[in-house]
């Protein structure tokens, strides 16, 4: 049995929430640098330089890279041979999120009721996806997910006859419609297969594919590259002012589905990529 204390989970979540919101990853900074080199027009270059400068100002002052510090989305992956000592795990996640948003001076962006819309004041509740595993594996993946890009996401129950071309057209149309709204250069997570609720989760997981330890499948990589090239030729560009860098990445996850269905979901992330895997 692996034993983990309740307080250790709280502290790790709190610290990680603050870190992902205020400290840009080296991968993100590298993406800005490559995009600056890749752009031809001066406005696009300038916009990207400012985005990079913004990330550095945030880190130096430990203030959020973006004021929309998001909904906290948590993927809890826990083995049956892990024991949490001192409390219930979901309460530890709630408390870690609450403390992170409070102590990190992060924005509280959750309303308790979508119709009456009163702010909960502590950014609770997070959205938790639990996966029970074999053995003593225990990790938590945390995302700060902004709403500007979330609002531009889409799901379609396509027909099997639509095929790969239909899927690609749906992605291109969705990103075209989104334009400047989701703060490009964006990351596009595409879920294909499963069912109505499953495909939405696949698309969300696709946004964190880089930390999911999924073996490379060359046939999927080829589709991702093709869609990425199509999207970057749309001339949306950084912040929608035109240019070659409309998307940083396209990531696809697939699962089996029903003979009658071809579910496709597209989850969009802004340029500020904020996620982390905490391994216990």
């Amino acid at each position: 049995m692996k034993k983990i204390s309740y307080n250790k989970i709280i502290n790790s979540i709190r610290d990680s929430i603050i870190e992902i919101n205020c400290v840009p990853s080296s991968e993100l900074l590298n993406k800005y640098v490559s995009a600056i080199e890749n752009e031809d027009n001066e406005l696009s270059k300038k916009v990207l330089r400012n985005l990079k400068e913004n990330a550095i100002i945030a880190q130096e002052n430990m203030i959020p890279i973006c004021q929309d510090t998001g909904t906290a989305v948590v993927f809890l992956n826990i083995g049956t041979e892990v024991v949490i000592e001192g409390g219930y795990i979901n309460e530890a996640i709630f408390e870690g999120v609450r403390l992170g948003y409070q102590e990190g001076y992060l924005r509280k962006s959750i309303v308790g009721n979508p119709i009456s819309r009163i702010n909960t004041g502590d950014n609770l509740p997070p959205i938790i996806h639990t996966n029970i595993l074999k053995g003593d594996i225990f990790n938590i993946i945390i995302l700060a997910k902004g709403a500007g890009s979330e609002n531009m996401s889409a799901l379609k129950m396509m027909s099997p006859s639509d095929g790969l071309e239909g899927i690609k057209n749906f992605v291109v149309q969705t990103v075209k419609n989104a334009g400047a709204n989701p703060c490009p250069p964006i990351t596009v997570g595409v879920g294909i297969g499963s069912n109505f609720e499953g495909v939405a989760l696949l698309a969300k997981r696709a946004l964190i594919k880089d930390i999911l330890d999924i073996p490379v499948d060359n046939s999927i990589t080829a589709i991702e590259t093709d869609i990425k090239n199509k999207l970057n030729s749309l001339n949306i560009g950084p912040q929608g002012f035109g240019g070659k860098t409309s998307v940083f990445d396209v990531a696809i996850l697939m699962e089996p589905c029903h003979i009658a269905s071809l579910p496709v979901a597209i989850n969009i992330n802004c340029h500020v990529i904020r996620h982390k895997k905490i391994i216990f």
Partner: protein
Amino acid sequence: MKLNTPIDKEKLKKLKSGDELFISGVIYTARDSAHKLLIEKINNNLPLPFDLNGAVIYYAGPSPTKPGNVVGSIGPTTSYRMDKYTPDILKQGVAILIGKGLRGLLVKESLIEHSAIYCAALGGAGALMGSKIKKITVVAFPELGPEAIFKLEVEDFPVIVVNDLNGNDIYECH
């Protein structure tokens, strides 16, 4: 080009879509919930929390200010959500709207009708935008938290003109 608030709408005639504009003076934040409440006040002829004539409205909701700092992060939110309210806001004489993303046709027509312009701030660059702010105070609806109306004292606050008075739109020109 540099402009001081309150904005003299005559000066907006020179601006073209794609131009950089630096605003100094006072600008006010208002996003979804604050717009809803402002429109309720306008419809009921109640006094408004700030003078909208010649005003600059920034669609934004800041992160909390850390002790010792002037302001938190404060980049723009997506503008289309305010489209429904915008023609009625423009009737009050607002001169400049700041947000990000494409506006609807009714907003574009209303901007021209009222000689106002729409500009974009850098999305996802809240720390950088915050560095141009000298002071922040709540002026209305504190119960809305980040959606309250904040008065921002700014110096050379950088924006890019999206919709100019001649009907041009930087998002649709490429």
